[in-house]
């Protein structure tokens, strides 16, 4: 009898696995750096290739690192929100212009506005690889000591910001006081 029942038993075991899997967010890819110090980097600045921007610039402050590119639709979506965030002057936003063309990126910032303290120009995606970037846009929240507190994949918006970023920023600020 068991041999006729076996198929349905196997299937019954699979259903809950699917059910749990369904409620997971497939875009939630972990970053190996969460809770650890992010990789050091130094890139030529997008707007001034003679100067550099890198991990030394944001040391000592809570900062956002936003990976963006002009070919990325999601980046265009979140750009307005980044500008709003920058206008509040609450924390510095650094950009990594990832796998992009310099003239495209410069004219993008000219046209749409520049929310970044500075953007590094990562044409070959080398720094992106160090940081484990899967695709743009991705945003990292960095603590004053350089620890990666959170990584968000896909465009930022107010809801994500309030839910995921604000509590972490408050907690980080509370600790340091």
């Amino acid at each position: 009898m068991l041999r006729y029942l076996a198929p349905i038993i196997v299937f019954a075991i699979m259903i809950p696995v699917f059910l749990i899997g369904l409620n997971r967010d497939p875009t939630e890819l972990p970053s190996p750096y969460i809770g650890k110090t992010g990789p050091q980097f130094e890139l030529p600045r997008l707007l001034d290739a003679q100067q550099t921007v890198g991990s030394a610039d944001y040391a000592g402050n809570i900062a956002l690192i936003n990976v963006w590119a002009t070919w990325c639709v999601g980046c265009r979506q979140e750009h307005g929100f980044l500008l709003k965030l920058a206008a509040k002057n609450d924390l510095s936003i650094y950009g990594i212009n990832w796998r992009d063309r310099r003239e495209d990126a410069v004219s993008w910032l000219d046209q749409l506005g520049n929310p970044y303290v500075a953007s590094g120009f990562d044409a070959d995606g080398r720094v992106g690889i160090d940081w484990g970037v899967y695709g743009a846009p991705e945003t990292f929240l960095i603590d004053a000591d350089g620890t990666v507190l959170y990584k968000h994949i896909s465009p930022l918006n107010q809801a994500v910001w309030d839910e995921e970023f604000v509590p972490r920023i408050q907690a980080a600020r509370g600790e340091s006081r």
Binding site: Y4, P7, R24, P26, P30
Partner: protein, 653 residues
């Protein structure tokens, strides 16, 4: 207006599907003729309304009606007309509608070509297909309505995913779906047999051609998908063990097992419950594939609709269909099984081994596909199971299977004496060892264990497959020749050999080089000289492209020019690689443009792929074998008899 007509037609189709699903099954249960008679007209009516809905959606696409949200999201004014049409199934909602159209078409085919079935049995088959159709129509209407309006309408659409703007991908989904959905017929036959409590050899004879037809469409569909991935994704690979590819491959493996197990059930009346289980499994894996692709539960380059609400609906549907079928199986199958013996050396044994190995392969692919999900559910982090794992896991059951194919084909039913079998197979074995063992090394100048094993297996299968056709050609006049069924089997197995040879040679002797090239620069790869002549900008209908001109010469003689492109599609701003491929029967030269490296230099990927055409040719030959076998006389005898009976004697036809 047109979109509303389409929407309304889908609702009418659902109403008819409910009639088709409920009344005939009830009628068969109560032996009520009038209820059973609902089956065929209801199926026909449903088909008409489904076609109307499909035509309405196609009309909306061809006329760029961007007030339909689905059209606005997946088309654009500048899109060439052919892709406007293929965009109908370019995303979730439309491909679901295509699925329904094909299911309905299979149902019509069943109701047309199986009128010789006992009335109650035919009513049950059509009823089960009607219930499946209900599920998919409900899914469309409740969660994925392609006719939803978008007011105000945008001036232009968001364009079709550039990956799908390709002739290969325009025809790949319909053919693949014909295969996928076709297994629903075998499934319905299995359910009908369990409901009626009768499963005889005639049942297997009815089921076989339907199974073979859907299997061969699935074969062609998968081959087309692989060919598309090869030239369009820009990496030069032909199979990636991606969850969506696996989703089509698992039903294929289970369907292959089913074809072989049906042979035993038809010829010997054995393996009955096993055959039923395989019929359920093949279709369940098709449904599971749909679930995996559409729920967004697994990450994949192919996944195009990720929505948990849809996932939950499919999971519920899956639970009802598969769970119901397996419960029915647990209840009714024990009574259907018959015990009859066969000797260890007999065709039954080899087909049993075939089934065991194919089921192992299916299970391994399923395990590898689901492992990332399972690990995640158990909270052990995220993992991905890559091609290296699949390649090894898949080769383990497949290599013995290839060697057993040759033995099984020439072994008699019930019992077989060892000596005559060995005598028959002596020549093919010698051919396989000599040709397979030596040829790759002589041609490509290198020997290796895997190459030798693969090539011996390939030549073994091919030469064994030729025995019967050759003997039939040389037979004495007046003696019966090979049947179509046997000839089809030989052809299909020959295709397996071709495919194996292609895979073996490609894996062993591909030469790849990722280089930086500036205009005027030359490099040599695998004995061919590639020279980047120039790079220039081009303007396509809905994209801009950078095109490289690469001259290829061998031994100083110019043999051709390739023009790989790097395209940027204007609306979606997504970059696409159009590889340049120079194909010939014994090798492909493959050139893809990478990224600019500064100072005019570009990264370029150059590949030499020997014998890669055999992979797709092998698959096509397998499908051809399927066509030959499925058109065997014994499947048509009843049909002819029926037509004669339908014409009253004495009257002109």
């Amino acid at each position: 207006m047109i979109a509303e007509i389409g929407h309304f037609a889908l609702i009418l189709a659902l109403s008819l599907a409910i009639c088709q699903g409920v009344l005939p099954l009830l009628g068969a249960h109560r032996n009520d003729q009038s209820l059973m008679a609902v089956a065929r007209p209801a199926a026909l009516g449903q088909f008409v309304f489904v076609i109307v809905a499909f035509a309405c959606l196609s009309w909306s696409f061809l006329n760029s009606d961007f007030s339909v949200k689905y059209v606005a999201d997946h088309s654009q004014l500048a899109l060439p007309a052919i892709y406007k049409f293929s965009a109908v199934w370019g995303a979730h909602e439309g491909s679901l509608l295509l699925w329904i159209v094909i299911l309905s078409a299979w149902t019509i085919a069943v109701s047309r070509y199986s009128q010789e079935l006992p009335e109650a049995f035919g009513a049950r088959v059509i009823g089960v297909l009607g219930l499946l159709s209900c599920g998919f129509l409900l899914f469309t209407l409740l969660t994925s309505n392609p006719f939803e309006r978008l007011i105000p309408a945008p001036l232009d659409g968001a364009d079709l995913n550039p990956l799908l703007q390709d002739p290969g991908l325009a025809i790949h989904p319909p053919i693949l779906y014909i295969g996928y959905v076709g297994f629903s017929v075998a499934f319905a036959f299995a359910i009908a047999a369990m409901l009626s409590g009768h499963l005889d050899q005639a049942w297997a004879r009815w089921t076989r051609p339907w199974t073979t037809w859907s299997w061969l469409f699935l074969t062609v569909g998968i081959a087309l998908g692989s060919w598309w991935a090869y030239y369009e994704l820009g990496w030069g690979g032909w199979w990636f063990w991606d969850p969506v590819e696996n989703a089509s491959f698992m039903p294929w493996l289970a369907g292959t097992a089913l074809i072989h197990s049906l042979a035993v059930t038809e010829k010997r009346g054995l393996f009955k419950s096993w055959t039923l289980l395989l019929a359920i499994t093949a279709f369940s894996l098709s449904l599971l594939g749909t679930f995996l692709v559409r729920s967004g539960i697994l990450i994949s380059v192919h996944a195009f609709a990720t929505d948990p609400a849809r996932g939950l609906f499919i999971l519920t549907f899956l639970g009802i269909v598969i769970g119901g079928a397996l419960a029915l199986y647990a209840w009714r199958a024990p009574a259907l099984d018959s015990a009859a013996g066969f000797r260890p050396l007999s065709r039954e044994t080899f087909l049993l081994l075939n089934n065991v190995l194919l089921v192992i392969a299916t299970t391994l692919v399923l395990a590898g596909t689901l492992a990332p999900l399972l690990i995640e559910v158990l909270d052990a982090g995220k993992i991905s199971v890559g091609p290296p794992w699949f390649e090894v896991a898949f080769a383990i059951p497949m290599i013995p299977l290839l060697f057993l194919v040759g033995l099984g084909m020439h072994t008699a039913w019930r019992t077989q004496a060892l000596q005559p079998l060995l005598r028959q197979l002596k020549v093919p074995a010698v051919i396989a060892l000599l040709v397979g063992g030596l040829l790759p090394g002589l041609v490509y100048g290198r020997f290796g264990v895997l190459v030798t094993v693969g090539a011996i297996a390939a030549f073994w299968v091919m030469s064994v497959a030729l025995i019967q056709p050759i003997r039939s050609l040389r037979r004495a006049k007046g003696t019966p020749g090979i049947t179509r069924a046997a000839f089809g089997m030989s052809v299909a197995h020959f295709g397996v050999g071709l495919f194996t040879l292609g895979v073996t040679i490609v894996s062993a002797f591909t030469v790849e080089a990722d280089l930086s090239l500036s205009p005027g620069q030359k490099v040599e790869v695998a004995g061919y000289e590639f020279e980047l002549r120039s790079l220039k900008n081009l303007q396509g209908p809905n994209y801009q492209a950078l095109e490289g001109e690469i001259d290829i010469s061998k031994d100083g003689v110019f043999i051709g020019q390739l023009r790989p492109q790097k395209r940027t599609y204007l609306v979606q701003q997504s970059p696409m690689t159009e590889a340049g491929i120079m194909a010939s029967w014994n090798r492909d030269l493959f050139v893809a443009l990478g990224d600019p490296l500064g100072n005019d230099a570009w990264s370029v990927r150059l590949q030499y792929k020997p014998m890669i055409r055999l992979i797709w040719l092998g698959a096509l030959v397998m499908a051809l074998g399927g066509i030959i076998a499925a058109s065997d006389r014994r499947y048509r005898v009843n049909a002819t008899a029926r037509q004669k009976a339908a014409v009253p004697s004495g009257e002109p036809a």
